[in-house]
Symmetry: C2
Subunit: 348 residues, 2 copies
Amino acid sequence: MTNNNIKIAILGFGNVGRAFAKLLIEKEKEIFEEFNLNIRVVAISTKSKGCLVNENGIDLTGVLNDLEVLNHFDKNKSDYKDISSMEVAENVDYDILFELTPLKIFSGQPAIDHIAAALKRKKHAVSANKGPIAWAFEYLRDLAGKNKVLFYYETTVMDGTPVFNLVDETLKFCKVTKIIGILNSTTNFILEEIANGKLYDEVIEEGKKRGFVEEDPSMDIEGWDAAAKTAALLNVLMGANITPNDVDRKGIEDITYEQIKEAEKRDNVIKLICYGGIENGKVIAKVQPEEIHKNSLLSNIKGTTSIVSITTDLMGTVSVVEHEPEIEQTAYGVFSDLIRVLSNMQRI
Amino acid sequence: MTNNNIKIAILGFGNVGRAFAKLLIEKEKEIFEEFNLNIRVVAISTKSKGCLVNENGIDLTGVLNDLEVLNHFDKNKSDYKDISSMEVAENVDYDILFELTPLKIFSGQPAIDHIAAALKRKKHAVSANKGPIAWAFEYLRDLAGKNKVLFYYETTVMDGTPVFNLVDETLKFCKVTKIIGILNSTTNFILEEIANGKLYDEVIEEGKKRGFVEEDPSMDIEGWDAAAKTAALLNVLMGANITPNDVDRKGIEDITYEQIKEAEKRDNVIKLICYGGIENGKVIAKVQPEEIHKNSLLSNIKGTTSIVSITTDLMGTVSVVEHEPEIEQTAYGVFSDLIRVLSNMQRI
């Protein structure tokens, strides 16, 4: 940090990164008024659009425009550099690293290494990538602690809806004892559409068109995405120190129209439920399709809406619901982590 | 504050005050470890149990025991004083005032005067009484600002569930544009029981026995309690500067079994809905019974469970649900405001 400038490096610049950049442009003045700080984006690295580095600050408006027009960063500009995300993390002069690269669900890499590189250099880090929190949370948390820097990851479970901040900032002195959630919108959507009488393949195609079913939907359908979110929640909120492999996981691939209709006769709906609790002093993690009674709050979590219910010793159960988020809400989550770094960096 | 002691004065010592006192005893060591501060309760005033003052700290365990045994403070102890809550607010040497006296729903008094007295003396204040927030929020907020002290009131809408803290601490830079809630459990319970075929009077009697219908239930049934909560929410989160009189209010007194059954035919349930929004640049506040579709999240808010849905410019809509709170959850809300004062008092 020099001359009231905070230098940030962004790894990955897909939809979330771009929406975050727009928010930085929009809120530049408000951030300065609040913190007396200017945010300078000094690096943006991508796998397929090129890489930009400028220690005086990249022109974000220009870059967003280039991407619209060229679908690539402008190779003719002096900011354009031929370096990798890891090189940015290790060598560029920044204050906060933003890890927004695509998730590798079975390893969390190379995002874990990117963040570790930043923390080792005593730089703050923000991750919108759930891999590092699901696979290596304790390692990274301890690395941040040792180097006296901040490490935040609000978006990894419910986009910008406060989950980790909720517990950290508003449920102080509470001990989390149980977590229940519906956290995967793809499976939520598929189960609803099958209940409506549509066929699996038909539903998958429609979901792809509407943008919330991945090209390869198996990670969602088999419960891996939900397991990664469950591991992230339990690692952070219950000190579980687990990976997605430790989650007792069952996907929705075997759920049939007939099963859903049978459940309906019992006034139930089938939802893919994430669960964490303590049994015999040990944290138990589960992801599986379950019958939920129509009178329950969880039964009315539809489509892309998600919920997490957090039970604590002092505050009983509090649920938080995110309603039909768009990409702007994920960008807000990244932005809120930036604001949290700016608020807390003087205090550690 | 002297010698690492924080002196607190508690006005009102009903169920919430006693549960708060138990929490102070239970968390004494943790608070010291976190803040290096000892909490000393230097005054407890009540209308019917007497008043205690001891600048070295009242023995809370002893007081709770006396109340169990005598149903009154012990008049033979040296702490026992014959002074009023207002005298405590104005004259006792404390750092934080806790306003826990019973609500006067049509004026917010004398709680407003208690809090104003503390703030004018440059003492921090915490209110679990919604009257001051519904009737005089701007006055008290400005008084706190002018005197550079803190003023918190988390419990006034949803007990210990974060609502004001949620927006303040986890939705920074967001502008609240709309609020919808189910915030009165008495009416929620009555509507459900009438739907089950019970008669009004029968339901009221049962609710009184179960402890969540007041001796005079008219304030709940006519929507005044919901209107006070709506005014509090809109004053704090939307800068509305209104009183409960400004809320377009309709209670549930005219809702019949037949209306509920008609609604059910349309797959709807009737709930008393609190609403705040902006129309033509002006904040609009409403409390009224509304038909809610059974697919909606709000329809499954049953009994003493409550919900508030907050819509913002940057984060879309986030809902927070409190599940079947007990008195301990209200006490936690008061406790969380204490923790917030301890966290922030050095920074203002």
